[in-house]
């Protein structure tokens, strides 16, 4: 298990857990389809953001969130 921020680009990982004290962001990620067992891919790192693919959408997330998502 490692943080998404340490993961490699263009490799599909499986989400293990979302490691944060904020319940609402975990729930929000769930509604996007980012929850344990689902697939996640880093498309690129831009500025200080990670562009990720969940389900069929691209999202931009910041480093803190990439640290919180464990794969």
């Amino acid at each position: 298990m490692m943080a998404l921020s340490k993961a490699m680009l263009n490799t599909t990982y499986t989400v293990n857990c979302v490691n944060t004290d904020y319940e609402d962001i975990r729930e929000f990620l769930f509604t996007l389809g980012c929850y344990p067992g689902e697939k996640i891919t880093i498309i690129s790192k831009l500025a200080s953001n990670y562009i990720i693919n969940i389900k069929d959408s691209r999202y931009s997330i910041d480093e803190d969130l990439a640290d919180a998502i464990m794969v």
Binding site: N10, T12, T20, Y22, D24, I25, E27, F28, L29, F30, T31, L32, G33, Y35, E38, K39, T41, I43, S44, L46, A47, S48, N49, I51, N53, I54, K55, D56, S57, R58, Y59, S60, I61, D62, D64, L65, A68
Partner: protein
Amino acid sequence: MKIALAGNPNSGKTTLFNAITGKIEHVGNWSGVTVEKKEGDVKQSLNPRNEDLVVVDLPGAYSMSPYTSEESITRDFVQNENPDVIINIVDSTNLSRSLFFTTQLLELGIPVIIALNKSDLIDKKGNTIDVPALSDALKCPVILTSATKSSDNGMPKLIDAVITLGKSNKKQIPPNISGVKKASTKEDFEKADKKRYAFVNNVVTEVERRKVSSEKQTLQDQVDRIIAHKWLGIPIFAAIIWLVFSISQSWVGPLLADTFVGWIDMLYEGIASLLGEDVNPVVAALLLDGIIGGVGAVVGFLPLIMVLFFCLALLEDSGYMARVAIVLDRFFKKVGLSGRSIIPMIIGTGCGIPGVMATRTIKNERQRRTTAMLTPFMPCGAKLPIIALFAGVFFGDNSWVGTSMYFLGIAVIIISALIIRKITGDYSKSYFIMELPEYRLPSLKRAAISVLMRAKAFIIKAGTIILVCNAVVQILQSFNWQLQVVAENAPETSILASIASPLAVLFIPLGFGLWQFAAAAVTGFIAKENVVGTLAVCFSITNFIDVEELALVGGSTEVSTIFGISAVAGLAYLVFNLFTPPCFAAIGAMNSEMESRKWLLGAVGFQLGMGYTLAFFVYQIGTLITTGTVGSGFIGGLIAVALIAACVGYLMRKGSKGNEISAGMRSVKV
């Protein structure tokens, strides 16, 4: 019959709303443009039998459990107001996520119709969707729509289906997902939600075939790598904004403005000859110089504003603005805001009021209030005439003036956010996540419609508030306190001059201590366009835009002589007007988003201090560079600025101390 439009952010709800109601609500190719519900009637051509069909456009939501406040608007409406039919707009390029919300909607018992929107993209991407199978699986009608197209967009079919379904009075049968109904505890809900997703995944594998798997790199991702590059992203953004200002202010804008102002001149002369010589000179001056001259001076800049808005609308439509949020996120993060705060600011470049309202999408209270306070620092549409006027009079119409004001706005926002974070002592972090919309070719038609809407609002404003203000200014400067007509060689005896003069004293250290400028700054609080109008009236310049030569502000040396201030002072005045509090309407919007009297007062005080301080430095440093000595009233101004700085410094110290105390308390708790 009440019809609710619900769906994920950026699935095209507002575009579809516009398509079926014929309204022109603001749309953009990114999430979170709509923050309030909007109502409209289905347009005649789609509703030939004249049924009572009210459509409600709701802000986007990913689920019924609200994460953002605009999501809770959607949930509350759907749950409490009992719409007769829900149109669930589903982005056909993103079934696997969108249908999660659909399963929740289907459980409400209200008849649901799915509008499979952006259906033109299904073929384009080489995907296939088995629509009848989808409809079977979800037990509700599915209609292919393409709301951005003007014909063959599926709207008549959609409305027909809505009417049929709404009249049938049948309850929606939810798809059978085990465990969903019995859920009561939190764990149950989580389990149920996972089952929902499992159900959706099954449906999607059955009905959809994708040619290219979505996690593969696309051309768009390559483009993003350059456009949102850590360092390249900033000069690219600067170049684009410069281009926007060049097009509107140096190339296309003046061309249109010339023609337009020609008409205003004709009107002026036409009315002047109609009035003839016999009319009372005060009345003639009120009508000609006050109303036509003052309003005309403002309206003359309309073509330029329209061109600028046209360019900005194209940018918004293309999907570029979401990339700007990525590029700027890290700067905003350093000062306690996030990329989320950038969206209100970009909207605020059009008009501060919707910009401030868009702060509602920010969940963290301090971040929301700070953003609402700083959004008005972006140069809004009403401030453009001021920028154009001063760029024309003092800097030969250079586009760098507008561009630098835009970026100065961003810089001031970042510095201010840092100060506010210190004052509040709130160092809480929040995560930033934003859906990245796909790039698309911006539609000229959509941009044109959005510009026409803004132009209409501008003309209405010019014909009401601005007209009245100019008339009042003209009257106040025509009479003295004894209600006698002011002598031609003694304009300083007028009521206006005597009211504005004490204020003007305060502006001496800023380089524009003349009553005319003070009066214009004050009328600017009613509407920023008034600054230009009042200057026109006070200096009796009927027209800033010269139709003889192809320059925005013709005879600029003449105008600058009439103004009687240096170019540096002109720049200071421009800065002062851009960074003082916005118009009253925007302050009202700040009040309702901040929900705190203390914050509102603090915000207005801060903005006043910021405008004064910036103008002081621009004028004094500029004068020092150009002439070698400091400008007028340096000592007095320095004292004032030092006082402002001392106040802010005191509050910042107090804020960080307060933070130590609360940090101490936290550690005790642990």
